[in-house]
């Protein structure tokens, strides 16, 4: 029986329980970044909100794409995952405010994606696949048992990613 674990905004959740399904509901401008070690069967899902850590911020690192990726990677490795084996996928980063007055200054989705690319490159991590951008929200599910990842958007059917 599946055990759904919600990964809320600014959170990162790791699991090696094969019954767990890690879910990030309604990723709009946020990014859901999934890490999976297929040999150790360890899964991690990060739900990051903002692109880059702000100096002297006391906010949890997982809120930001750059420190969120770093922290989740460290936790995965500490839990026994092998960095070279990690299968990494990314979803979200939409720009949803379609309004002439607002969208000029509100492009957090695009900036989140750019920050993810930069951080992954810096950490020498390879992105296996992604479904990002656009202007619709997405829900992602990461199945710990086998690393399956699904994406669902409004009015759409659930489909596998990578």
């Amino acid at each position: 029986m599946e055990n759904v674990i919600t990964v809320g905004l600014g959170e990162s959740v790791l699991s090696r329980n094969p019954q767990d399904v890690l879910v990030a509901f309604g990723l709009g401008s946020c990014l859901g970044i999934a890490f999976y070690d297929p040999y150790m069967k360890i899964a991690g899902l990060l739900h990051a909100v903002l692109p880059e850590y702000v100096n002297n911020s006391h906010a949890p690192g997982e809120r930001f794409v750059d420190t969120g990726i770093e922290n989740t990677l460290k936790e995965m490795v500490a839990a026994g995952a092998i960095q070279a084996s990690l299968h990494i996928r990314m979803v979200g980063g939409a720009n949803m405010l379609v309004s002439a007055e607002l969208s000029r200054t509100f492009d957090i989705g695009t900036r989140n994606i750019a920050s993810a690319y930069k951080t992954l490159e810096r950490l020498r991590l390879k992105l296996a696949c992604q479904e990002v951008g656009g202007n619709i929200g997405r829900t992602v599910r990461l199945y710990v048992a086998n690393g399956r990842m699904t994406v669902r958007s409004i009015g759409g059917t659930e489909h596998d990613l990578g």
Partner: protein, 202 residues
């Protein structure tokens, strides 16, 4: 006690509650006038809420909804959002366009424009009352209409708010129409820095 609570004493919060209650009723008057139907307003609540707990205020994050988002700009700033289930949005469009219920089954540009106008009217009526009571001047931005899962809509709102602050004052009410199945959540989130500046001016 939340950090934000320490900025505003009980007297100010009572005054804020009174003004926003009047503002909400005025917003309902504008909305009702456009709809041609009477609306009731549920007892508004005012809470201090950590920004990242805002999604917990709504159930069913995967359900489909429409949000009409406006910023308030000027001397008093903040955010206003109307949130309604997608099916309710279809019914609302039918009411606005004087069509039988069930006519609208997707939201094209005309339908979104009609919904945006509801946001515009509600926001403008709310701010007009607040401006009158406080002697300050604020105006709403052009509304943005978002059609998506509730979680994605709130995700955007949290991303906007968390850049400014960790906690907000959240005013929440529901506009209902007894003649038709219509429940629309109305949120007002004043910017606490502009409230502080207002307190210092008065």
């Amino acid at each position: 006690m939340a950090e934000i609570q320490k900025l505003f004493d009980d007297e100010f919060m009572n005054a804020l509650r009174e003004v926003t209650l009047e503002g909400i009723h005025n917003a309902a008057r504008g909305f009702s006038g456009m709809l041609g139907q009477p609306l009731t307003v549920s007892q508004p609540s005012i809470e201090f809420v950590p920004v990242f707990q805002i999604p917990e205020r709504m159930a069913e994050l995967e359900s489909e909804a429409v949000a009409i988002y406006l910023k308030a700009e000027g001397e008093l700033t903040g955010h206003m959002v109307l949130i309604l289930p997608l099916k309710t949005a279809y019914d609302l469009v039918d009411m606005l366009m004087d069509q039988p219920t069930g006519t609208t089954c997707e939201l094209g540009s005309l339908e979104r424009s009609a919904l945006g106008e509801i946001g515009n009217i509600s926001g403008a009526y709310f701010l007009n009352l607040v401006n009158e009571r406080t002697g300050q001047s604020s105006r709403p931005t052009t509304p943005a209409v978002i059609v998506d899962m509730v979680g994605a809509i709130l995700d955007v709102l949290v991303a906007i708010l968390c850049v400014e602050c960790e906690e907000v004052i959240l005013l929440q009410t529901t506009f209902s129409c007894s003649n038709r199945q219509l429940d629309v959540t109305f949120w007002v989130i004043p910017d606490s820095n502009s409230l502080k500046a207002y307190l210092q001016r008065t």
